[in-house]
């Protein structure tokens, strides 16, 4: 009896794979091929590497001029900028892919086959996460070359931070898919994703500036009110939007707190799963048609 049940289970899994898994895998392959043969992802890595080159050149200039520079991690600022840039690109790219295929009617066409909204979005999500891994490897290669060229040390924590940034990047891709699932057109989708990214980063910068401005504890003044508002809003957005996860994950990892960084990565992965499910529900609700 057990053998028969086992064979039945195996057959069920195989048929499920044939029905749903194979098309999903095919969509992932197709997506990966089309993104790897486009210039945009390479250009984003080039911009991130150029940012690193600029920052490192500045550090070298300080050593040259002052004779001395004490720094925790020369690649920290570049890494933050690079990962944020890649995450924003990934969110925008995922959103654009879905919105464009929806606009062109590809999604509708796929739905006549054995492709559900979830498996479609899962394919997009997986291909973009794999794409991020490839881009991170490219960026890491650039950082290694920069480290060799400058003699500035690329620390192990930087490498780990890059590896763990996959969590926040996956969350960013999931958010891009959710936005695309809720909005039909390409342009509003891209604008919404970029607006969310810039809004989060802008809020973070405003918060950093405002907390540095002196404000007495016992006086209610405009700085204090603005600071309170920025802290309150950013404390919400840092959990609701994936770009806050990038900041948290990198700052915790660069401090050497591996357990903390792992927990942020896990939280980002949970966020990605929840948002992906919401995106599938959203796509079902808004419809697959143009």
């Amino acid at each position: 009896m057990g053998v028969v049940a086992g064979v039945r289970d195996a057959t069920r899994i195989r048929s499920a794979w044939i029905l749903s898994g194979r098309p999903t895998a095919a969509m992932i392959r197709l997506d990966l091929f089309s993104t790897f043969t486009a210039l945009a992802p390479y250009a984003v890595v080039a911009v991130a590497a150029a940012l690193a080159g600029f920052v490192l050149q500045n550090d070298l200039h300080r050593v040259q001029e002052d004779g001395l520079l004490v720094i925790g991690d020369p690649f920290a600022v570049s890494l933050y900028g690079g990962v944020l840039l890649l995450s924003v690109y990934l969110a925008a790219s995922a959103a654009m892919a879905v919105a464009r295929e929806r606009e062109q009617g590809t999604v509708e066409l796929l739905s006549y086959g054995p492709v559900s909204a979830f498996s479609y979005l899962l394919a997009k999500f997986t291909s973009h996460v794999l794409q991020y891994m490839f881009l991170v490897v490219l960026l890491l290669g650039s950082y290694l070359l920069l480290a060799v060229a400058t003699g500035l040390h690329l620390r192990g924590t930087t490498l780990l931070a890059m590896a763990l940034s996959i969590g926040p990047a996956a969350a960013a891709a999931a958010l891009g898919l959710l936005v695309a699932a809720l909005m039909r057109r390409v342009r509003p989708t891209i604008l919404a994703v970029l607006g969310l990214a810039l809004g989060t980063v802008g809020l973070q910068v405003a918060r950093e500036v405002l907390v540095r401005l002196p404000a007495p504890e016992f006086h209610v003044n405009p700085v204090q009110v603005l600071r309170w508002a920025a802290v309150a809003v950013s404390s919400i957005t840092q959990w609701l939007l994936p770009f806050g996860y990038v900041d948290r994950e990198l700052s915790v990892m660069l401090r050497g707190d591996l357990a903390g960084a792992l927990s942020v990565t896990v939280a980002a992965c949970v966020y990605a799963a929840v948002v992906l499910a919401l995106a599938a529900a959203g796509l079902d609700r808004t419809g697959i048609r143009r």
């Binding site: 486009a38 550090d59 004779g67 001395l68 925790g72 002196p214 504890e217």
Partner: protein, 426 residues
């Protein structure tokens, strides 16, 4: 008419200015705080509106219940006390509560704060109870003895100078005179002491507390409720102040144990090690000044607790392992037209400007402070690296490599598509 208007306006304006220069003083219950900090005991005020008092956990601080005249000083944006106008001690006991439950009840006791090496030196000692009165008496006696010794010295010096004048005059007359011995100046009197005051001695473990004064009538003194935070450090390490020989007036700090020190080849650096503790930025800023608007609740700062220049510094580089001992150094301005200075070891009898470990950077160095037993002090390990300071062109070329790869992939793809199209057409 115009003159009259201008004169009236001027008078009105000056009257306003005169009013603004006299702040309104209000009689208030305040806490005078002498909080332990690593730079010495810092005196501050906690007036109304009430704000949180911060103290270092596990260290002794003093909180005094007083009545004084409080005014707002708009220039610094702080409330200040006019102690000379009113400085009345408030009777009662200090109740310390945690989560609504009384932790301890403190009685007032006399205290004195003394600085054995002078008021500007960091080392401060707090004496309480009978010891405070005894120490203060000893201070007064020592100060009086020094004053008498100084007076005697000045008198002796006056006589000595007169004797010198007489000897010079006698020599002019051709008479040989034996000079009296020069008087010896008494040693510098460095000890400094506060007067004996009374206050509540606070030494609490880490935590959030509420404090209030209960008067002799059994009622809580109005306005005496405050929140008190006893905080402690997050990490301990050895911090370094690094003085480059080329700009000794602008030292750098390497407090974070994971930080790397980048220096030019052949650069001479002087390392000054300190025992360091990492505190919350906001808490420490408010410890030093409870009314401070500085400090970040999510920020951290390293504070030096004591110099460790008596230890030895181990250097491990390509040329092997060597040990350096800390030495005093003197900075001398170069004479002549060329500006600059040089750092030298002071000749015998001359004072030094700073002490530290001299390190000549030749390449990558692993350094660590060694304790008396010759073991590396935890948290003192640092790496000194020499970056490549040559040409900058690789930094411009490297970012182009991913772009080149992308362009190659795109070209290959187009070639593939073109070939497929040609095959179909054929």
């Amino acid at each position: 008419m115009n003159r009259a208007v201008i004169a009236t306006l001027f008078l009105l304006l000056s009257a306003g200015t005169a009013r603004a220069q006299v702040p309104v003083k209000e009689r208030q219950f305040v806490y005078g705080i002498n909080a332990f900090a690593w730079e010495g005991y810092v005196g501050s005020l906690s007036a109304r509106p009430p704000h949180t008092i911060y103290v270092l956990a596990g260290h002794r601080s003093i909180v005094s219940a007083r009545e004084t005249l409080v005014y707002f000083w708009p220039i610094t944006g702080e409330y200040r006390a006019d102690w000379s106008g009113l400085n009345a001690s408030v009777d009662g006991t200090l109740e310390v509560l945690q989560a609504g439950r009384a932790v301890t009840v403190l009685l007032r006791q006399p205290y004195v704060i003394q600085y054995p090496n002078g008021p500007d030196s960091g080392l401060a000692v707090l004496y309480v109870g009978e010891e405070a009165a005894r120490r203060y008496r000893a201070f007064v006696e020592a100060r009086d003895q020094y004053r008498d010794a100084l007076a005697r010295y000045l008198e002796a010096r006056r006589r000595y100078l007169e004797a010198l004048d007489r000897a010079a005059a006698a020599r002019q007359r051709g008479v040989t005179v034996t000079l009296p011995p020069a008087p010896e100046e008494p040693g510098q009197f460095r000890l400094f002491s506060s007067d004996v005051h009374d206050g509540f001695l606070i030494n609490l473990p880490q935590g959030h507390y509420a404090i209030r004064v209960r008067g002799p009538d059994g009622r809580v003194v109005a306005g005496s409720q405050r929140t008190l935070v006893a905080f402690t450090h997050r990490r301990e390490a050895v911090g370094f102040t690094i003085v480059p020989q080329t700009r000794w007036t602008v030292p750098e700090r390497a407090d974070e144990p994971g930080s790397t020190i980048y220096a030019r080849r052949d650069q001479v650096l002087y390392f000054q090690p300190y025992a360091a503790r990492e505190y919350n930025d906001l808490a420490y800023a408010r410890l030093v000044n409870p009314q401070s608007a500085e400090g970040r609740s999510d920020g951290w700062r390293w504070e030096y607790s004591q110099s460790l220049v008596e230890d030895r510094l181990q250097l491990a580089g390509a040329s092997g392992v060597q040990t350096v001992t800390g030495r005093p150094y003197r900075v001398e301005q170069k004479t002549g037209e060329a500006l600059g200075y040089e750092v030298i070891e002071p000749p015998a009898g001359q004072t030094s400007d700073f002490s530290g470990f001299k390190v000549q950077v030749q390449g990558t160095l692993n350094l660590a402070l060694l304790d008396a037993a010759g073991r590396p002090v935890p948290g003192s390990e640092r790496i000194v690296r020499v970056p490549r300071l040559g040409t900058a062109w690789p930094l411009g070329v490297i970012p182009l490599l991913p772009l080149t790869l992308g362009a190659a992939v795109v070209a290959w793809r187009r070639e593939q598509l073109g070939r497929t199209q040609r095959t179909r057409e054929a």
